[in-house]
Symmetry: C2
Subunit: 347 residues, 2 copies
């Protein structure tokens, strides 16, 4: 499946499918004089037979370890050593972290060199769309970055076969989020087709829906001044939980989505069947017990430092009127404390 | 004088004049909740009475010392300490180096915060136009950067009064280059009005012409894929001389412009009065004696490593058909050696 972006200019294609890497990488690289590969060192190891015959390969520190200024600068210097030019191509192969750091460095080396992203995790169906690049700082995650579009995204789902369960659960969290931002039917189908466990071989249609959903929001608002913020569904509490309990991103998002459903019921007078979703998430493998003993003051503190919020008193949440219909709401800290307490009781 | 950019979007005004800083900075900052000032430490010292009452000031390492990743990251962390938000404003005050590094960090902190540049050197009439940001790497100058437009440029020429002679000569080199890219009359007037020495108080019209000339090129071709390269007039040899003899940028550009006139005479069959320009440049204070004993192999080596050239065999030069009419030409290394030898003899 080829999904084409719909910006005013600089559009590109996101290719999704099984067994598509070899042909597509050949097509995309053939017109460049020089091609440089930046590959997650662990992914390189797993797929060594595939990658070992390539010229100009730089192995990047595994996963999140790459999202720091020193490895990024070292990689830039290695590329300069290899004589990279403005008309070269960089191919970034790895998960969301490799993508974020690899795209950032592509955007700043020689003031911007073309790059292609080859995502290799389930979670990167999300991170490879939208043009956000980032590295972390001591103050927090993703505090330094750019907006920069790839020339293409080649998402070969065969790479997902080597993912461990934890990574699959993490990626699936964002698949669920996108389903919830899409519509009721997608949510129901997703739950039905992944009843007892996550069926990675059958996820293709949901990944495609996820990408299209995300694309719809980011095309409208690339720099996140308004509607793009809907993609933070589940993320306000999710981020706080991620740091508080050192959870995988998508796992934390799932917990955040449950809270979001609860708050939507309370504030928007909805009737999402919270218990049904709690049971479902448990059944596919998420540990929801973190929600039973929340360190509420610490979580609130973390949420109010979220860089995406411009107000200090109230915290912006994304709620749902219905699946597919997000609604922004600013919740003051008193109320939030109250909701977290109640939620903790009923979960 | 207010000069407005003419991009498709995100336009801004370049204000040029004497005594304009106080009013304009007030106007531009008043709608932002938080404003952060990044000021060249030496400029801060010179204008301490003006700046000492400001909130949120970060003093940047002087001049080129700021154009490295560590001071840039330290400044980013200081801004995060001071709780900078995506809707804050950064005001960068200093010469071209401060501008380049300050603009780069504005473009990457929180994926881009608004910034205003207040250039304080003559050379920064050039660097503050065109949206290029940059820092240096061990491999060379300006190898890491972005394209990022300020919200405004406030060029208060009163700041120029404290510049020393060397800095004035350096800045004047780019003023001359822009005059040469404009037309014959501008070049004649400029030389006439700055007969025996550079008359900094009277430069305003030439600075404005310079800015407008540069703007014409960069608007047409922001990312330097073609016509913008004309702004490299005098820079191919200029850059090589700058590093070879550790010259100030604009001083090296002036020497590069002389060589460019010579090569234009030779290859395009022109008759620029080389001797007249040599005498003029000497008379206002440039040391042209570097041109008498060139280390030709080393210069050639440096030129062929210029990142702006995509070919390795031939080196791209910008020549002049006439003042105001640049012409690109690729010169192979043999010929170039020959020209440099001949030029050295007659200078
Ligand atoms: N730019 C965006 O819009 C955006 C959106 C969401 C998340 N993100 C970022 O994405 C990152 C999380 O994504 P992620 O989970 O893909 O990160 P990741 O790159 O750290 O990958 C997770 C782990 O999986 C391993 N891995 C990668 N491919 C594999 C494969 N095919 N088989 C086995 N193991 C493999 C990696 O080595 C790593 O240890 C975070 O840094 C987050 O900030 C960015
Ligand atoms: N971005 C662009 O398009 C572009 C174009 C040309 C040059 N540049 C860059 O600009 C830089 C050179 O510009 P520059 O010469 O202005 O650099 P600079 O910022 O290093 O300033 C030169 C010196 O003048 C001092 N100074 C600044 N303002 C002063 C004042 N008002 N009075 C007295 N001293 C003052 C500084 O402390 C410094 O020592 C280089 O780094 C070059 O790469 C960028």
């Amino acid at each position: 499946m080829d999904i084409k972006t719909a910006y005013n200019d600089d559009n590109y294609t996101i290719h999704v499918g099984h067994n598509i890497y070899d042909t597509l990488i050949h097509d995309y690289t053939k017109d460049y004089k020089d091609v440089y590969y930046i590959i997650d060192e662990y992914v390189y190891e797993l797929y060594e037979t595939k990658f070992s015959q390539l010229n100009h390969v730089i192995k990047a520190p595994r996963g999140e370890a790459f999202k720091h200024i020193n490895p990024v600068m070292n990689t830039i210097d290695s590329l300069l050593d290899l004589n990279i030019k403005r008309n070269s191509l960089i191919v970034v192969i790895g998960g969301g972290a490799t993508g974020d750091a690899g795209a950032l460095l592509s955007s700043i080396i020689l003031r911007g060199v073309d790059y292609i992203h080859v995502p290799t995790t389930l979670l990167s169906h999300d991170s490879s769309v939208g043009g956000k690049t980032a590295i972390n700082r001591p103050h927090g995650k993703n505090l330094v970055g750019t907006f920069y579009r790839p020339k293409a995204v080649i998402f070969d789902l065969n790479f997902l076969k080597t993912l461990d369960d934890e990574e699959i659960l993490s990626g699936f969290g964002e698949v669920i989020k996108h389903a919830m931002l899409n519509d009721q039917i997608t949510v129901e189908n997703l739950m039905h087709q992944n009843r007892r466990c996550i069926n990675i071989e059958q996820l293709e249609p949901f990944i495609i829906t996820g990408i299209k959903t995300k694309l719809r929001y980011v095309t409208e608002d690339e720099t996140e001044s308004n509607v793009r913020k809907a993609l933070n569904l589940g993320h306000t509490l999710g981020h706080a939980l991620e740091y508080e309990y050192q959870l995988k991103h998508g796992h934390a998002v799932v917990l955040g989505l449950l809270f979001m459903l609860y708050v939507s019921n309370e504030r928007l007078n909805k009737s999402f069947n919270l218990q049904k979703y709690v049971e479902y998430f448990k059944s596919v493998g998420y540990d929801v017990s973190y929600l039973n003993e929340l360190n509420i003051p610490s979580l609130i503190e973390r949420m109010s430092h979220d860089k995406k919020n411009n107000e200090t008193e109230k915290i912006q949440f994304v709620l749902l009127e219905a699946f597919g219909t997000p609604k922004f709401d600013n919740i003051c800290i008193d109320e939030l404390t109250h909701y977290l307490k109640e939620f903790q009781e009923i979960i």
